[in-house]
């Protein structure tokens, strides 16, 4: 029996409400290898209703959505479409039956035009030739509906990120989906674009489309969701009708545990010497006039929305991007123009995108581990014995688990890859460690391990900067948090101010509060 059925029917009760759900998951389980990701998931999507699925990163939302839209198979349980059990062999089948997923990561072919992308795989034809005129006209109509006046012929690589999101939405709309699954559609959108999107969602609702919607922005959820399901650690913890849960209750249900259980006790380093001083740091238009100080043994958080310039700022600090402004390490001014120079100055960076920037997936652990600090292992020739010793130490210290020593890193789990990556940057023996999204795509157990590692680094006297989009992580880990917004530091919070409300308000530009950032 799904929880939704036992909920009292309150709120705007439409005629279709008691009817059979359009799409439903019934007691769905999913495991990856020995790790179970979803436990007993039951969700119903009704026609003309927006069902919001919320939860922390790693709660299992994405997996659930992928199962609904045929990208993943359920290990156990039933998927029902119009009351009949179905199995989607692949996403195309789901699409053919009217179930469309709008990806968070864009699935657009960069070299194709907007129009070609929208009709990719569903091209309109006149006889055996493509019907360019109709496709162009329809594209124009769809984009007009989304108030995104793009030329259908423009190359997709030439449009902005929010525009790409709109194209992705237009593409889904063009498929005349009966079930639309939206994975954080507003993550890359501005307020104005979000409003446009909501208008479209209202229209789709009126047309009887069933919509599943995920977002980290709880105010949005409260605004548009007719029903909310909260997931935590792979389970559904609550399903509620509109108006039954306010934003605070949603957040509580999402986190579900006292933060202190998850994070080691914070320690403070107020009096310690400044290790890194950054002043008026600017990178083109991405980072504007940023100044901050990092102290010895401190864990400094960088919060902000995706695209607020956090990653770019750090890439500038390690010399991957051209920057202006001044940087001093241990009081000595330094100009860092390469990753090597940064490393020599005691500054290392763990990239946000571990597969594209962090690790070589087609090589083994040893070669990945020593790549950054390879000079230490090399005196004309590489000392492979020393490398093996370093690997032994890393495996021990960071509890790396792999089927064998020479497994390709690409075949390891996300958590173990991340451990190899952390071990790799620590091999450079840094003083300052910048960790960008330490626990992205990692299971809860390993996350907790990472928090312990990060604290250990700070205890050992390293100074740590943590960038995270997970609010709980920033709040649980950091002594002090810089909040970025549109390339600037919107404010700096510490002590009791390190809480979700203050940080979110700063990140969203709702108020400008800063103690310490003048």
């Amino acid at each position: 029996m799904s929880p939704a059925n036992v909920m009292p029917q309150t709120g705007s009760s439409q005629a279709q409400k008691p009817a059979a759900p359009k799409l439903a998951l019934r007691n769905v389980q999913r495991s990856f290898g020995p790790i179970q990701i979803l436990y007993d998931i039951s969700i119903e999507l009704h026609p003309g209703e927006v069902h919001a699925l919320i939860g922390e990163n790693g709660a299992g939302k994405s997996t659930a959505m992928k199962i609904m839209s045929g990208y993943l198979a359920a290990s156990d349980g039933v998927i029902e479409l119009d009351g009949k059990p179905v199995t989607f062999e692949r996403s195309r089948e789901a699409e053919a039956m009217g179930v469309t997923l709008i990806h968070q990561e864009f699935n657009l072919a960069q070299a194709l035009s907007v129009e070609q992308n929208i009709f990719l795989g569903h091209e309109l034809k006149k006889g055996w030739l493509l019907d360019h005129a109709s496709m162009r006209a329809q594209t124009r109509d769809l984009l007009e509906g989304l108030e995104t006046p793009l030329d259908p012929r423009i190359k997709t690589s030439d449009i902005s990120v929010p525009e790409k999101q709109m194209v992705e939405i237009a593409k889904a709309l063009s498929r005349k989906a009966r079930v639309l699954i939206m994975d954080e559609p507003t993550a890359a959108l501005t307020t104005r674009e979000t409003a446009v999107l909501f208008k479209q969602i209202e229209r789709l609702k009126a047309e009887g489309t069933a919509i599943l919607y995920t977002s980290h922005k709880l105010d949005e959820v409260a605004r548009i969701a007719d029903r909310v399901t909260v997931m935590r650690d792979g389970r559904i913890v609550r399903t509620a009708e509109r108006g039954e849960m306010n934003e605070d209750q949603m957040a509580e249900a999402m986190v579900g545990r006292e933060l202190s259980d998850m994070f080691p006790r914070k320690h403070h380093s107020d009096g310690a010497d400044p290790v890194l001083e950054v002043k008026n740091f600017t990178i083109g238009t991405l980072v504007k006039d940023v100044s901050f100080t990092l102290r010895r043994g401190e864990i400094l958080g960088f919060a902000g929305l995706v695209g607020s310039g956090r990653t770019e700022l750090m890439e500038g600090l390690i010399g991957v991007r051209h920057s202006t402004g001044s940087v001093a390490i241990n009081g000595a001014p330094i100009h860092i123009h390469s990753v090597e120079a940064a490393m020599n100055a005691g500054l290392v960076y763990l990239p946000e995108d571990r597969k594209e920037h962090g690790l070589i997936l087609t090589q083994d652990m040893r070669r990945n581990l020593t790549l950054l600090a390879l000079k230490k292992f090399s005196n004309i020739l590489i000392d492979s014995k020393a490398e093996e010793v370093a690997l032994d130490k890393a495996i021990e210290e960071f509890d790396i688990r792999a089927p064998s020593r020479d497994v390709l890193v690409g075949n390891m789990s996300g958590g173990n890859q991340q451990k190899v990556l952390l071990a790799k940057i620590m091999l450079a023996d840094p003083q300052i460690v910048i960790i960008d999204e330490p626990t992205r795509g990692i299971d809860v157990g390993t996350k907790q391990q990472f928090y312990t590692f990060i604290h250990r680094l700070a205890d050992e006297g390293h100074s740590v900067i943590v960038i995270s989009s997970e609010m709980t992580e920033v709040i649980g880990l950091c002594d002090r948090v810089c909040v970025m917004r549109r390339g600037e530091i919107a404010g700096e919070v510490n002590g009791a101010d390190v809480n979700e409300d203050t940080i979110v308000r700063l990140a969203m530009g709702l108020d400008k509060k800063g103690n310490g950032n003048g």
Partner: protein, 333 residues
């Protein structure tokens, strides 16, 4: 697949890689076939001939292994050889009246060859790394340019080394140590240094990191552009070295010098197991690849089973086969 702790027994034993064995088996098979078809095949004179002719391609192919491993390509090596040989001969001929026919002139000629090679490689590397133009495009262009330049220098004919210098220079190809010709010795030395550099130095590691994922390499303190640049410069120098050994063989350079060498070189690298897409290189494999191509040519010439004119067709088939086998390895893991 259950995760076991990676600290479990540390395998140090040599693991047989069937894929790596493929080229060696092919080489052994060729030697057996050659020996069965013609008794002269294993005669030391024949082996010496095959090896010294292969050594030009071999020396260049070692450099090409690094270029390809780092995710690049160089199509210009064949016409670069012709161009360098032409320049060398012209320089030596020009110095002859003033300096006389002596080793000094030859040394200057050799130095010129290496220098022009380095400069030509640097030009390719500069356009590829600094101007961010596709390696394929740049070296396709420079291939045509070098070929055209040598034709122009030779005025459509042949540039010939003055006889007095030629006879003095000849032992550099035909002479040797302990009965082994110089080109073979040089090839062996280059191959050994290359193998060590690829497997046991930071440079080799960096090349394969760049070829695997340039971004990861960049974030790992690898000077991506610098390393890629040096692969082209080193290749240029090796082309120069090959030219230094090639000029005394015929004592001339023309429009047809080094024709299709780029294809033979790349073929040898790929047959040897280096990934054309970059990220993994095997110098000893390249050496095996060079020998395979050389032996096929030799066997076809010694026997009348198949017309030697079909040599190219057989080489082509082998290249395609090698890539198919690579693909099989990729999907099987």
């Amino acid at each position: 697949m259950a995760d076991t702790n990676a600290n479990a027994p540390n395998k140090t034993g040599f693991k047989l890689d069937v894929q790596a064995l493929g080229p060696i088996l092919a080489l052994v098979a060729l030697i057996v076939i050659g020996a069965l078809l013609n008794p002269d095949f294993l005669a030391s004179k024949n082996i010496t001939n095959v090896l010294s002719r292969s050594s030009f391609i071999g020396i260049i192919a070692v450099g090409m292994t690094f270029v390809i491993t780092a995710g690049g390509l160089d199509l210009s090596v064949g016409s670069m050889t012709a161009f360098i040989a032409g320049i060398m001969i012209m320089v030596m001929n020009a110095l002859l009246p003033g300096l006389g026919a002596g080793w000094f002139v030859i040394l200057i000629g050799m130095g010129t060859g290496l220098l022009v090679g380095a400069l030509a490689g640097a030009a390719n590397g500069f356009l590829i790394t600094r101007m961010s133009i596709e390696a394929f495009i740049v070296t396709l262009g420079s291939m045509v340019i070098f070929r055209s330049l040598v034709t122009w220098l030779a005025d459509g004919g042949t540039i010939s080394l003055n006889f007095s210098i030629g006879s003095l220079y000849e032992p550099v190809y035909y002479g040797g140590l302990f009965g082994i010709r110089w080109p073979i010795i040089v090839f062996a030395v280059v191959a050994i240094i290359g193998e060590i550099a690829m497997r046991h130095t930071t440079y080799g590691r960096h090349c394969s990191a760049i070829g695997s994922n340039e971004q990861v390499a960049r974030f790992s303190a690898v000077h991506v552009q610098r390393v890629r640049m040096t692969t082209y410069v080193v290749l240029g120098i090796l082309v120069g070295l090959a030219s230094v050994l090639y000029v005394p063989r015929l004592g001339s350079a023309s429009n047809s010098t080094g024709t299709l060498w780029e294809l033979e070189t790349i073929a040898a690298v790929i047959i040897g197991g280096t990934l054309l897409s970059g990220g993994f290189g095997r110098v000893w494999g390249t050496v095996v690849g060079v020998l395979i191509l050389g032996l096929i040519d030799n066997i076809l010439n010694l026997t009348d089973l198949v017309s030697p004119y079909l040599n190219g067709a057989i080489q082509g088939l082998i290249i395609i086969l090698a890539v198919v086998l690579q693909r099989a390895r990729k999907t099987s893991r």
